[in-house]
Symmetry: none
Subunit: 234 residues, 4 copies
């Protein structure tokens, strides 16, 4: 269950490798114990994640998921009882892990603009890594079985909390102004999440990807200066 921790929010661009690895983390961690049962289960989960994201929950049929996982359709039901339960398990199995704490340490010594730019970058990397997961959430929220709501809201709460903590740390260091942290967190999240949505989910490659850092830096600067007015105005 601890898979993907290492790769998340690490410096550097997200590589194709990471995206693929993301779906089958057990392999790396359990190399010594190739438990065939877990393997089957894991393969089904990964196949389901991929197909749910690709075709939507309803259109991704269990037969295809099973075939794609290399097992018989029944096997899927043996492991997950129903398609609905499979969705739930997929969404909790691949759910985020708390990364903010570590990240806060990483950016502790960086200058403010640098810190926020890296924060934004890592957050987006993380979303890219969890692209399928996010995709499913975006698409299925309105059909929203309660379980989804719970998981997704927990995800958002965790994020906002992380942003708030980050801002507070920067404030303590004296490099961020005094402002409504909750509101700032929502704003910062909106900017990053929207960037991700447009670039990755909608495929609107408005900016060459090489320029990503520039764009994010641009966002950060506006945000940083905007929230600094109180300090400045003093």
């Amino acid at each position: 269950m601890l898979h993907c921790i290492h790769s998340v929010f690490l410096p550097g661009n997200v590589s194709k490798r990471l995206l693929i690895t993301c779906c089958e983390p057990a392999f790396e961690l359990n190399v010594g114990i190739p438990d065939p049962v877990q393997d089957t289960r894991e393969r089904i989960l990964s196949a389901a994640l991929k197909l749910f994201a690709e075709k939507g929950y309803v259109s991704a049929c269990t037969k295809d998921i099973a075939r794609s996982a290399g097992v018989a359709e029944v096997t899927l039901f043996r492991h997950f009882t129903s398609k609905d339960r499979l969705l739930e398990e997929v969404l909790s199995h691949f759910t985020f892990v708390s990364v903010m704490p570590q990240l806060l340490k990483e950016i502790a010594d960086l200058p403010c603009e640098e810190a926020l730019t890296i924060l934004a970058g890592r957050f987006i990397d993380y979303l890219i890594l969890r692209k399928d997961w996010v995709s499913i959430m975006q698409a299925e929220m309105q059909r929203a079985p309660d379980k989804l709501f719970t998981v997704y809201h927990a995800f958002l709460d965790e994020l906002f909390g992380g942003f708030v903590a980050c801002f507070r740390q920067l404030q303590r260091r004296g490099c961020m102004g005094d402002f409504d942290l909750e509101l700032g967190a929502r704003m910062f999240h909106g900017i990053c999440f929207n960037y991700f949505t447009q670039e990755e989910l909608l495929g609107r490659k408005n900016y060459k990807s090489a320029d990503r850092d520039l764009v994010l830096r641009g966002f950060v600067r506006i945000f940083l200066y905007g929230t600094s007015r109180n300090r400045r105005s003093e």
Copy 2:
């Protein structure tokens, strides 16, 4: 086809009435010509919009749409050939109309912060009015028949263009700093759209709705100060 224009981006809060009216605008506009054929067509489109948004494209079955529109299932096919075509027609029928031009005039004489706050508010009102439409787009983009992409990207382009034009106007009036307008538009859009998504689509009523103006004003201030640094720093 131009229904809803009047109600969009007009000053004042979006009332329940408007939201409801939105789905059956033809009645009000075509009172003089109660063309029964158009009527049938319109009723199907409205029913489809509602059900697609509610249950997702795949899960909203033609039988339910037809029943909800008060016609036989076959009639739906007479009018729209296939379910796929129906989706396309729904999405273009209820698509946005260019509202920015008018809005620019409205805020022409307002002080900058006021202008942007109202812009944000109207934009969100507009999204609320088009909630079903947006919902469908969010959910079905990944399944993305080309047609959807085209329509949605046109929608976004129009929006960004509008924001850019608005910023440019405010710059000319000397009340906004010098900054990358495209980048600003993306940022501003992200903030507003994310607010809408969370409040309306995800039902995360973090802020009491009475405070909406305060929140938006908070966003706008940060954005405004942030983009003014260049001017100020001079």
Copy 3:
């Protein structure tokens, strides 16, 4: 819905023809109006009756029923919503009709032994005519959805009432003794029903069928003498 009345409880042995006709009575009555919808419905009902009786409810699959009715499987569901509902409709569609009144008239002038023998014979004929229906009831009662219970108990109540009325009539004519009519009805019913079960359902052709009348007459005599003891003893 009035099918089968004419053929039930008429004098004479039950012929193969009657048994077959029983399942598609509408043809005879509605010759002038070959309503294709009713026809389809009727064909499905008949096929279902037959297959349910033959293989049991669970084992008679809807595909086979549909094929045997000459329609597509979906058509069956269009008409009956679910397999469970189909069973219910089959059981009420082919349910008994009140025949006792007419029968009482028929045997009004016959000597007592003759009257009871004919009553027993007709009752068994009737069961043979409804063999499939009874078969299903026997087999599915324990799985017993409430609906079945209701229908079957109504069937039994009607029968017992009929027997009681018959005995009372014979008493009035002075040719039956004084005895507990309810108890007598249960006994008489048990004898006849058991005969039917063994001969028809279990295929225990212990007695040559030509002797049926003899067997029944034997039963009747014992019953008749047995219930006459009170009169005799006076």
Copy 4:
């Protein structure tokens, strides 16, 4: 395999305890030899008997039977090869044992009416004890694998034989008239079996159970008087 003998046809009413005990008789008899293999086998047989009776052969799935017996599903197949064979084994394992001989001795000295009333009562007690077994037979006869037919017909033959023997004994003692014994056996059986079916299987508690003896006595009297006419008429 001879379990239940002691409790069958013993004087006194059938207690709840007997009914329950009936399914797991081996425990009591084999206390000294707790053969674990037989135990497993026995547990499966009992579970199968219960579930077959409750849900019908087809609906009682091997998984449930196994779970209810506390073993793995495969184990069931190890012991019985196939579900069909399991049914056969269940039906022969729990089949009746010849009880008539003993019963004849018991009623040897009783007055005729008393003897027949007790005979009827014991027979019904016996059926109640074998309720599950009878239930299965009733329900599955029509699907009738040959094996079932054989077992059930043997059961009936044994019964009829018993009744005939009983009647003959009473005749010898001079307390029953001269009549067709086969025919009488069928009649007597029908009356008792029908009583059982209605009270126990169909749950038609028409008569308060306290009155059971009265009802049976009523039946017996009619039967007795009816069959005595020949003697009397002389």
